[in-house]
Symmetry: C2
Subunit: 222 residues, 2 copies
């Protein structure tokens, strides 16, 4: 990597997947150009750079596209071989970090969608129950550490970090208080949000709330 | 890693996810103990080692469990720092290998399930169409190379390798000839199956065929 590297991020402001790439780039101090999509329309650049899925985020590094946010964050860490290092040094800890990152995308994310797309109170309650079970596992994984990465921000902090402002939205939509039920995760969220690299990379909660209500109205469930 | 390392693989004979871990261990020349599950019952060991999902494969290295096959193969490559290296050296090529591994698990695998679980000919045709589209992309990724890894077997060969004998089953279940439609993938499959590390790690096609018919009969679709 040289000082003349070109970084372009194809992104959409509300995306937790886009947010984690922004956080990773900010933690590494990389200056990049952001290309905002205008969904539901997709730009020619997005379709060319991610023909398989046509999804954001796509990071284009010196003309080479990298897709899928878990993969992109790992790529950033590998290609930018300087501190802060996101993935742990130890192969076993690295495997654990990847395992929980996968859990966040497959379990937490799908439960979180349900807490917003519910039609009945029963559906909402079931989604909240699922969400609580997943967050409990994540809080156990955090344990007494300041960050998932230990004393410093690591891969898993960046991956879950994309959800920080979304947590307040899930809470607003339902009757349960995510952050109060999980004091250690609450403290972790506050700690992350105090970092400029996180707070400047995350969407505004009011705009997010408005977006969620607009989608619910469009889908005829509000 | 020392000569006294203990490796245990919790496995199930027919699983393509288990097969790829067996292939990776064989490629690295690692001697391990295999613990076969007796599904649908789950062993106490499996539930203890993978409490989050309760799924095979789980690799236990010196008492530490690693779950999720893509993650396990990457772990094996990272902790066994000797040839053959599975992940490419170049970070961009590594990101590409991980991207296609994810594609295999999310797209190819779900289409392949449909080619076996169909109830009507329309469903079978749709599943085959999907499968053909995915295989086309994978064949394009292979290009003129001997292996996805180039001249030597790499990460993606191990990941897709778990499907080698399954390809013949998908073909038996439907009307299309996967391997004839994709001559480069066909040659790749033959090349892989000539390696003892692959052929000894993969299930027997006759037993697989019998299993698929038994499941279809149990589900009342045959």
């Amino acid at each position: 990597m040289s000082g003349r590297d070109e970084w372009i991020l194809i992104d959409f402001w509300s995306s937790m997947f886009g947010s984690r790439v922004r956080i990773a780039l900010a933690e590494k101090g990389i200056v990049y150009e952001r290309r905002e999509e205008d969904f539901p329309k997709k730009s020619q650049l997005l379709l060319e750079m991610n023909p398989t899925y046509g999804k954001i985020p796509v990071l284009i590094h010196n003309g080479n596209p990298i897709c899928e946010s878990l993969n992109i964050v790992q790529y950033i860490d590998e290609v930018c071989c300087f501190a802060p290092f996101l993935l742990p040094c130890d192969p076993y800890e690295r495997a654990q970090a990847r395992f929980w990152a996968h859990f966040i995308d497959h379990k937490l994310h799908s439960a979180s969608i349900k807490t917003m797309a519910y039609e009945t109170m029963e559906e909402l309650k079931a989604a909240e129950k699922e969400m609580v079970e997943h967050l409990k596992l994540l809080q156990d994984e955090l344990g007494e550490k300041a960050y998932f990465g230990g004393e410093e921000v690591g891969y898993l902090d960046v991956i879950l970090g994309g959800f920080c402002t979304w947590f307040t939205i899930y809470q607003d939509m339902g009757s349960f208080s995510i952050l109060d039920e999980f004091p250690k995760l609450k403290a972790w969220t506050r700690r992350c949000m105090e970092r400029q690299t996180f707070s400047a990379s995350l969407p505004d909660p009011d705009q997010l709330r408005e977006l969620v209500h607009r989608i619910r109205r469009r889908n005829g469930i509000e």
